[in-house]
Symmetry: C2
Amino acid sequence: MIQRPRGTRDFTQEEMITRKVIENDLRTTALRFGYFEIATPTFENAELFIRKSGPEIVGQLYTFTDKGGRELVLRPELTAPVIRFYANELYKQPKPLKIFYLGNCFRYERPQKGRFREFWQFGAELIGTDKPEGIAELITFAVTCLANVGLKTYDLRLGDLEFLRNILADWAFPTERQGGFLNALDKGDVDSLTAMLQDENIPARSVEAFLELIQTKFDAAEFETKYELLLDQFPVIKEHLERFKNVVLLLRRFGITEFTIDLGIARGLDYYTGIVFEIDVGSLGAEKQVCGGGEYSLGELFQIKDIACSGFAIGFDRVTLAYNLEGLIAEKPQLDIFIIPLSTPGLHKAIELANLLRIEGFNIDMDLKDRNMSKNLKYASSRKVKYVVFLGEDELDKGSALVRAMNSGDQTEVAFGELVNYFQNLA
Amino acid sequence: MIQRPRGTRDFTQEEMITRKVIENDLRTTALRFGYFEIATPTFENAELFIRKSGPEIVGQLYTFTDKGGRELVLRPELTAPVIRFYANELYKQPKPLKIFYLGNCFRYERPQKGRFREFWQFGAELIGTDKPEGIAELITFAVTCLANVGLKTYDLRLGDLEFLRNILADWAFPTERQGGFLNALDKGDVDSLTAMLQDENIPARSVEAFLELIQTKFDAAEFETKYELLLDQFPVIKEHLERFKNVVLLLRRFGITEFTIDLGIARGLDYYTGIVFEIDVGSLGAEKQVCGGGEYSLGELFQIKDIACSGFAIGFDRVTLAYNLEGLIAEKPQLDIFIIPLSTPGLHKAIELANLLRIEGFNIDMDLKDRNMSKNLKYASSRKVKYVVFLGEDELDKGSALVRAMNSGDQTEVAFGELVNYFQNLA
């Protein structure tokens, strides 16, 4: 028997109910924040990702050549396609442009718990503003997504790549090596970082202070105290530290008061420029990061007029996993009524009643296998139907149906003409 | 500038609103008929489609080899993956199994109006019954999908491949050539059909009668008259004609009274067995077919216990096109309020109000670019906001905001504490 490809998933009815409920929570949250949905194709010209993605992602690309000789790629992430769409067409729209999207992505990596070769991302981009209130609202939006899905605990970590860039610039660290440096930082590879700084003849004391900085983590509540210390140690970051302080202040206004300042966040991609953030969900254990984002600039890469952007991506599958792990239960769409005709005239009446009740908005199923009563009841029960309607010959003669409430077993005889009303009053 | 690949599409905010409204109509309709949603991966092992799809589809496949050497295919249609999922896992569930799905498919064909290389299908399968009420309800479901989306005119055509198979069997037409025969029939290639029948030494008079049969089209209202004629001409189809008659009767009970009997429908794929149907939407012009389906059997192909199935696929993109052509307009999610702070204290108050109003379920946007009033008003107007809230210094001093209704221009001063109430009363 043919199986599905390794690292991919099929989704059962129960899984889809949960996914659709979470999708709906995310969409509703996006609208609350003034974001509207867009979508891009599943595959793109290979060039888009080879030029724009980090080396790790490029090594995991699903590339192929179409029958017209085009080099194509199944998208490994959604920001690059969205910015391509912006550069092709959306650039005409008034700024700031607030857009979100939910789509599947593909990476050839070793399948493991919570990691799949086809996975879903929910993301948002705020294009056309570099103001502190822009990034503060975006971060609030990301956090509110997780809150509205119903997750109980999540930890926001906030950093700023500009601090690092300022310090590196102050040391005249070559710009072309900053990408590799940030990659090593993203991996927490302190040995490589130390070696790279020593290569540039940065004094040992400065290297030590820098390594301390990128390992700096503290509660947002301590920000005011730490602010002075940071400024004292790295006067070159003054301007950005001031801006960072303002973002922290605005986040508090937005009700985001508990978070961690983590100056070691580097994000894998080197198009990030300023504030970066990540959100972890503790219930997920080791692979706990569900969201990452920040301020970035793609102008140069896309040969378009540079424009300030910020955005984030939420790992939809990990959110779903956390949802299940935290014992959250999606409200299931209910199968309201199952109709059991017990004869050919009963079947004709069943069809008529199914029509009427469906028009009134009830979810209806009926015997489609011409089975006996007990098999039908077993089936109705397996489908978790609320009510069963019997159309036996006795009932047909009387112009009525027998309604059984499946939870109590109570039975009521209801005239055909009263049936819609009867169920409307129960609902 | 990098463009999207040929034959694919980006979807703007307006397009996505329409698509999501149509998706929602289709999902709601499916639930009314007792169908629940599932999903399968975007790519499958190539074998699945190479073995199961018609030759035309195989020629249009997007195939590729992954880094592990697996031959994969971007799915060209959704029935084969769904049946694979059934054979792998869902076979354990009680029958009949009623499942639906909405997904993207890929075919390398020449892009033209309403035809894309990435396109969407909405489909349903009814697995585990061969009763007339099963296929009659399925067809009703398909028609109701289009009605509930709001399309005004659509034409259902109903055929039965079993008639043709019975006649061919009666003539001892070789089974292994029936697939090719049905393919020629699907293309309306009368010359090939005639040649194939002549090759088997079918008498000229029989060939003529057969060609007449497959070109037979009549209104469902004429069925009772035509029934006798058909039976007279092809007595071998008696049993299936009786069953067909019953399906026509049940369809009428389901309220589907206006349709065409079209005995020339062959469907492209040779796994169809009995009743087949197609639905056209006249407003689409030449490429007007939006739905196709019927009774089929996949057991042999999948090496599973044979089981009676029926199903259909609706071309989601064509439905969307028809929706627009018929002048239907999706109700847009509204941006309710745009908040304009005119100072730093105004910004802090704006954030506080945005929080409050979002929690109450309003869709809120605010100035994120620190712009002046007139630029903000222009932006709010471009985003079709219903109300603008000004937080000028005068207002802040008085503890109130100025609310402007964008449609009338009327302005009202509202105390901060009253603002949520004020908007709730307007909604």
